[in-house]
């Protein structure tokens, strides 16, 4: 596979380096029951989990690739050459000083210590599928908040973990949730006690280092009654010439009156396949908001969902996608209404540049026995060049009386007149494009925490620079 011609290389190079570490634990390439045994043995996992993983492996093998509706890019994945488990052999660290030097350097270059010093409550950094660094600041710990890697949580808090693990996203949901269930490693586990409002956003960071390595982190966040928490993840990976696979599963549980906000900025290198299943369960009066931005990767398939299970539950998905040459951002949302007076809101804005392709898939389901449910969807696409592509596949099923749904969609271009107007004020053509594109997504970018919105604007600027001419 050719490395896709990326019109702008500058920002990708921030992630474009790796250290020649000999991983201490490596399950080898390809996937079989032996791989599962290796993972369970190396991690010292309980037998129930071995069963769980093996069952998932069989489900994965039995399901076909969803090529009847997904893009052709999926067929490029060669499952036999991927490494499904790789770790440096160390357990999670408490303080920065104890982390091995090479790994420290990777994260220092990518700014982790700095962001921790600022305002985050705790940082959990993952390096090649094990949580290397885990630190919970005293304020968060004192509130009774549990924030640890999924591996650790499995061992230390099996009571809470097993109660919800695999309940929001069952193994058989799709081929890739099955794959994740078989080989997951790393990811975060968060439990927020009743009534606790976590003041600072919790953050995790992911990185792929070895060639042909796939990341399968599994995140589970439980917000108990009346609690509030915000979680942020941003990721990057170095550039390689063969495909890398990232197939995460994120499960959120918002108990009555709780609020969870989950923010992602994805900027994987353009050779990564990013196939993620994200779903939240919102009980009575609870609220789940996904804020999702996809800028990198070769192919991203991700449809953050909310199951509105309790009365007056609210679900929201804010999605920004930027697809450049060689990229396909296949994103959207799913809102499943399962109680009266539930509301859902989806706002999606995509930008296709060069030969980039952006796809919106939105599922809204309101069954006929429900009353007073409301859904609103807005999806706007911006096409920059004549070869840019966008497709929209809304799947809206609303039945019953007293429910309402609204769907608005638009496709637009930056007009030559707008560019000329901005140039006449002294902005170069690239600056004008950049300003217009940032303007297009501005109301969504503003919903991200400030450090992300600054990074997003910069990433869009760089992408636009290459598109002009």
């Amino acid at each position: 596979m050719n490395t896709p011609a990326n019109s702008v290389d500058v920002d990708r190079d921030i992630g474009n380096f790796f250290y020649d570490l000999t991983p201490a634990r490596d399950a080898g390439v390809g996937l079989s029951e032996n791989t599962i045994d290796y993972i369970v043995d190396v991690k010292g996992e309980p037998e129930w989990l071995r069963e769980f993983r093996k069952n998932a492996y069989h489900v994965f093998m039995s399901k076909p690739l969803p090529t009847h509706w997904a893009g052709d890019e999926l067929k490029e994945i060669d499952f036999d050459v991927i490494r499904y488990y790789l770790a440096s052999g160390e357990s999670a660290k408490r303080s920065w000083e104890e982390v091995p030097e090479e790994i420290k350097q990777t994260f220092e270059r990518l700014g982790i210590p700095e962001s921790e010093r600022k305002f985050l409550a705790g940082v959990e950094a993952q390096f090649d599928s094990e949580a290397v660094y885990s630190n919970i600041k005293r304020a968060v710990a004192d509130q009774g908040v549990i924030f640890m890697g999924s591996t650790e949580a499995l061992k230390e808090r099996p009571d809470i973990f097993r109660k919800w693990f695999g309940k929001v996203i069952p193994t058989g949901d799709n081929k890739f949730s099955a794959l994740n269930s078989a080989v997951f490693s790393g990811g975060s586990f968060i439990y927020v006690p009743p009534g606790v409002k976590v003041k600072h956003p919790l953050q995790a960071y992911f990185r792929i280092n070895a060639e042909n390595f796939g990341q399968f982190e599994r995140t589970l966040i439980i917000a108990d009654e009346g609690s509030e928490v915000m979680y942020m993840e941003g990721c990057t990976a170095p550039k390689f010439t063969t495909a890398t696979l990232h197939s995460a599963v994120v499960e959120l549980v918002a108990l009555p009156g709780a609020k969870i906000q989950y923010i992602t900025v994805q900027n994987w290198s353009p050779n990564v396949f990013n196939l993620v299943t994200k779903r939240g369960l919102a009980l009575e009066n609870a609220e789940i908001k996904w804020i999702d931005c996809n800028i990198g990767s070769r192919l991203t398939m991700k449809y953050p969902s909310v199951v509105l299970k309790g009365r007056k539950a609210r679900g929201e998905v804010i999605s920004i996608a930027l697809a450049g040459d060689g990229q396909h951002q296949d994103t959207g949302a799913k809102m499943i209404h399962a109680a009266d007076e539930t509301t859902s809101n989806i706002v999606s804005k995509s930008i296709s540049v060069g030969k980039g392709r952006a796809t919106y898939r939105g599922l809204v389901h309101v069954p006929k026995h429900l009353k007073h449910c409301r859904n609103n969807t807005e999806c706007d696409a911006l096409l920059i060049n004549s070869s840019s592509r966008t497709d929209t596949y809304p799947a809206i099923t609303v039945r019953g009386t007293g429910n309402s749904t609204q769907h608005e969609a638009s496709v637009s271009q930056i007009s030559a007149e707008q560019i000329f107007y901005m140039q006449q004020r002294g902005l170069s053509e690239a600056q004008a494009m950049s300003l217009a594109v940032n303007g297009f997504v501005n109301d969504l970018v503003r919903q991200f925490p400030m450090e992300y919105s600054v990074e997003l604007k910069r990433l869009i600027d760089l992408e636009m620079e290459g598109s002009v001419g």
Partner: protein, 255 residues
């Protein structure tokens, strides 16, 4: 004198020739008005000076202080001090007026130099006060949801902030009622001075009651056919544009 000189200019769009040998010079400190009927090429002249890509210059030249501007991109011309107030200003959704002006000012600074935010807002509010524009305007998206009058006033505000050497106002009076016209005229008058040369393109004489020109030129069929002082506008007002057809077909140079 620092000036823009237009020499024997010929402009076409596709196969159609619109400007057929136009000569004009306007310098800093001067206010020139161009009048003429629809189709005379007035707006085309403005757009060509700004560098609009739809038009081809097929003959002649446009010089800024002796240097030809024809090879320069629109943004280069802008940074060299040429400003055009658009007849139909564009909307730029999601981009606030403040951010737009900041970006425009920042673009004029040398590489690496940052525009100081406090200085910028000080300047912005000062100019807004001068033009009776309310503060909440800064956060609104450029021209989005603006009335005709508000758009034209926004053009003048931008001119006030960018302080061009040469400004071309393309039918700034079109679509305005008398009150809006007075406000825009007041704005333009406050910006007049020895450091800026202004070319005001207009269809109706009325604005020239509020903005008194130093020179008036009449454009007809792609050329300037008559030039004179401010009285020429009044003569045109009483005689109408039909009178121009009777004039000598030979192009008459300005000044």
């Amino acid at each position: 004198m620092s000036s823009i000189v237009i020499k024997d200019l010929q402009v076409a769009i596709g196969d159609k020739e619109i400007i057929r040998g136009l000569n004009l010079e306007f310098g800093k400190g001067e206010m020139h008005a161009i009048m003429g009927p629809n189709g005379s090429g007035k707006s085309t002249l403005a757009k060509v000076m700004a560098g609009h890509p739809d038009y081809q210059v097929i003959g002649g030249d446009i010089l800024l202080d002796g240097e030809s501007i024809l090879e320069w991109e629109p943004d280069v011309r802008a940074r060299k001090g040429i400003f055009m107030a658009f007849q139909y200003p564009m909307e730029i959704p999601g981009v606030s007026n403040a951010n737009f002006l900041r970006a425009a000012l920042q673009a004029r600074l040398p590489e690496g130099e940052e525009l100081d935010a406090t200085d910028f807002y000080h300047l912005l509010y000062q100019k807004m006060d001068l033009l009776d524009i309310r503060r909440e305007f800064t956060a609104r998206a450029v021209n989005e949801g603006f009335s005709g009058g508000e758009k034209k006033r926004n053009e003048i505000l931008q001119m006030a902030i960018l302080e061009p050497a040469f400004a071309v106002l393309d039918e700034t009076d079109s679509g305005l009622d008398i009150d809006a016209l007075k406000i825009v005229a007041k704005g333009v008058n406050t910006l007049r001075g020895p450091n800026v040369g202004i070319l005001l393109i207009t269809h109706y004489q009325r604005i020239l009651n509020y903005i008194i020109p130093d020179f008036v030129h009449v454009m007809f069929d792609g050329r300037i056919v008559r030039s004179g002082g401010k009285e020429l506008a009044l003569e045109l007002e009483s005689k109408g544009y039909d009178w121009l057809k009777e004039l000598d077909a030979e192009p008459v140079g300005a000044n």
